[in-house]
Symmetry: C2
Subunit: 169 residues, 2 copies
DNA sequence: TAGAAATGGTTGAACTGTCAAGTAGCGCAT
DNA sequence: ATGCGCTACTTGACAGTTCAACCATTTCTA
């Protein structure tokens, strides 16, 4: 029995780490979502997209680039930006250079919504996450995140939904 | 203006770590989901619940206890178990001692489904996660997971959905 | 300079998750 | 014992996500 905790597959350390990681994957998103939803009527993904856009106020950002930075799949992104546009927090324009490309840009209203939401959100993140971690652990977390997301693994580094060739080109 | 990456709220280290953690929260679940869905027609949550139940083949497990172990909210759990029951992978019985309590138990079919799914899934987890981490990083990950989930924080340790008192009793 | 393949983005259908409200059973106080 | 409150779980309504198929545009290739 104990299908996933021993055997030749994952050693003790790994399977324990796995359980905790899965716990975080299940628990953290609803918790983050909750605060923003209650207090600002924004989803966590909405917030992250706007935060991302707020770092490029002038130029705007291509859809795909948002996806790469926020690690979201395209359809999800489309719907989020559509929603944010309806709310007046974001504009979309077709790039003149490449007319397939859509460029999203945050509006003043979006920016002020974000500025209004940020303190509460960051506070919540601090209390939920960083208050429980030592600086060393924060550094370790950063390192682990890099190891996984910057590994070049096609599944994790985005494009996942179309990369299926087992051995590559 | 870099709403979430500097200022008095999160220092550089923290906000970088935060970005990577968020990346994992967005990316990992779809990736894990995908493999199981394609190859076994199971959701990741389905799999975790069954894996959990497979560790207590004899007695069965109370709904709430599953939630505590797999870190899932109750409504989600109810629907998953309902689905698994329809598929014949799980049975539910009302506890005779306390008739509010529902006890879920994995069936032989559920067990064999799990055993069939496990190799591919574990393989995928290994390739996606553990192949990119050193043993030291795995240990660090475990420690971070513990720090967050076992912190006693009501939001993270479940019950989150009813704890709203800002300062506590 | 066609035509084929690839890229960027959107959309429809099905599913899953969340919140809030609801039912049922237990337990303690009067 | 009757009523109040708590616990365990379920359900309805809604919003969000995913996969797959789609259209439009660009780029490669012959």
């Amino acid at each position: 029995m104990d299908i996933m905790t021993n055997g030749t597959w994952l050693n003790d350390q790994e399977s324990q780490a796995w359980k905790y990681l899965v716990g975080l994957l299940f628990r953290l998103p609803p918790v983050l979502e909750g605060q923003l939803q209650r207090e600002e009527d924004l989803s966590f993904a909405d917030y992250m997209v706007m935060a991302m856009l707020s770092e490029n106020t002038n130029e705007g950002v291509r859809m795909t680039d948002i996806g790469g930075l926020v690690k979201m799949a395209q359809p999800r992104l489309t719907r989020i930006v559509t929603k944010l546009e309806k709310l007046g927090f974001v504009t979309r324009t077709n790039s003149p250079e490449d007319r397939r490309v859509v460029i999203a840009q945050i509006t003043p209203q979006g920016l002020s919504k974000l500025e209004q939401a940020a303190p509460g959100h960051v506070d919540h993140v601090r209390r939920t996450v960083f208050d429980h971690l030592t600086p060393q652990q924060v550094e370790n977390l950063l390192e682990i995140g890099q190891a996984l997301l910057d590994s070049g693994d096609p599944e994790l580094s985005m494009q996942s939904h179309c990369a299926n060739s087992p051995v590559a080109p």
